[in-house]
């Protein structure tokens, strides 16, 4: 069983060696010409804003998206073993999954209804 992971590990080592090696090479090979403007944050030529995120930070919207993603991710994780074993679960499996999806759908419908899926 574990021997199935060995090739993946080998590829991981090759990819990591390539990536890290190239990054090190790149920092060694390239020229180094100091210039203050170069080291500033790039904001299309105007003076960079002192704080990356600005005074208002971020729309809290992203939090909602991530939370919804977790909800659906967990639902999908349950769907996979169900789909694989569906042949032996039969009608019972279908009914319980319909119940599960319907319940999660309630949450989805609530969020949609309250405008949680709108971006502006």
């Amino acid at each position: 069983m574990l021997s199935n992971y060995v090739p993946i590990l080998v590829l991981l080592v090759i990819a990591a060696a390539f990536a890290i090696g190239s990054v090190i090479m790149g920092s060694l090979v390239g020229p180094k010409r100091y210039n203050r403007a170069k080291l500033d944050a790039y904001e299309c030529g105007i003076e960079p804003s002192p704080e990356p995120a600005g005074p208002h930070r971020f729309p809290v919207k992203f939090y909602l998206t991530a939370m919804l993603f977790i909800v659906f991710d967990i639902e999908i994780i349950f769907l996979y073993p169900w789909a694989v074993a569906f042949g032996s679960l039969g009608i019972f499996g279908l009914v319980e999954m319909v119940l599960f999806i319907a319940t999660v759908f309630v949450a989805y419908a609530y969020v949609w209804r309250r405008g949680g899926l709108e971006w502006d």
């Binding site: 574990l2 105007i46 939090y63 639902e75 073993p81 679960l89 319980e96 319940t103 989805y108 609530y110």
Partner: protein, 262 residues
């Protein structure tokens, strides 16, 4: 007590191959160090990253113990979804390396250490008590017919009630997130047409004001651009819209026509 179980387990399965042991001994210190680093890191994002490392090591441990489904679900759900949520939240509240390290709640560090130790004890002793009395069924029985099939068989027959409860938990998560993060908008969504109307009706400069260091004060196409006069201050022409009074600060020549009309 535990050593006896380990010996028994090793005797029963003789599956703790060299590779498995080696992986464990390499990754276990990494996991512990990452966990410690997570608590001690000064920057919140570094802490979150170390937590990702820790969760990843746990996933590899699951793989080592012939639970591939659990291992990859650990990566997908914990490192892929939950930690992304953490990072989002860290960015939402703002991440400065200058985050304040002053305790706002007095004595919370002591309380955290005590509670953490208590929780660890709570975890270790009941689990130790449980596994010392029972006999392991063995991986062959547990993974009969394939890892995923075995999980599905258990989850969708014996534990179907718990499985349905999970959906209720998910509802609570979604509703809680809505309550925390969603702000109801009064009225409908403003269309772009409407926004344009409002912008024009409000008066003042219609286009964005120029950035600092730009000399073109009026931004209309009907005004010929002019060089800054030598006498005028060349410093901040960007505030042409809201500078009150003064001939020198009223750059719109078209204003003359309007003034004469009134």
């Amino acid at each position: 007590m535990n050593a006896a179980i380990l010996v028994q387990a090793a005797g029963e399965f003789t599956r703790t191959s060299g590779g498995e042991a080696a992986t464990f001994w390499v990754l276990a210190p990494v996991a512990v160090l990452a966990a410690l680093g997570m608590v001690l890191a000064r920057s919140a994002v570094h802490g979150a990253l170390l937590l990702v490392v820790n969760l990843f090591c746990l996933a590899v441990f699951y793989l080592l113990q012939d639970a591939p489904f659990l291992g990859f679900v650990q990566i997908i759900v914990y490192t892929g979804a939950i930690m992304v949520l953490f990072l989002f939240v860290l960015m939402l509240v703002g991440v400065d390396s200058a985050d304040s390290l002053v305790e706002t709640l007095r004595g919370q560090r002591m309380a955290a250490i005590v509670l953490g130790a208590g929780f660890a004890g709570l975890l270790v002793f009941p689990i130790g008590g449980v596994i010392s009395g029972t006999k392991a069924a063995g991986l062959a029985a547990a993974n009969n017919g394939g890892n995923i099939q075995a999980i599905a068989r258990l989850l969708f027959t014996d534990y179907v009630f718990a499985f349905e409860i999970v959906s209720a938990l998910l509802i609570i998560a979604a509703v809680g997130a809505m309550i925390l993060a969603h702000r109801e908008r009064a009225g409908g969504k403003i269309t772009q047409k409407e926004m344009l109307r409002r912008r024009f009706a409000a008066g003042g400069p219609v286009t964005p004001v120029p950035g600092p260091g730009v000399y073109a004060r009026p931004q209309a196409a009907d005004v010929t651009p002019a060089l800054p006069p030598a006498s005028d201050d060349p410093g901040h022409p960007g505030d042409s819209g809201d500078s009150a009074g003064g001939d020198a600060d009223s750059p719109h020549p078209v204003g003359a026509g309007k003034g004469a009309a009134r």
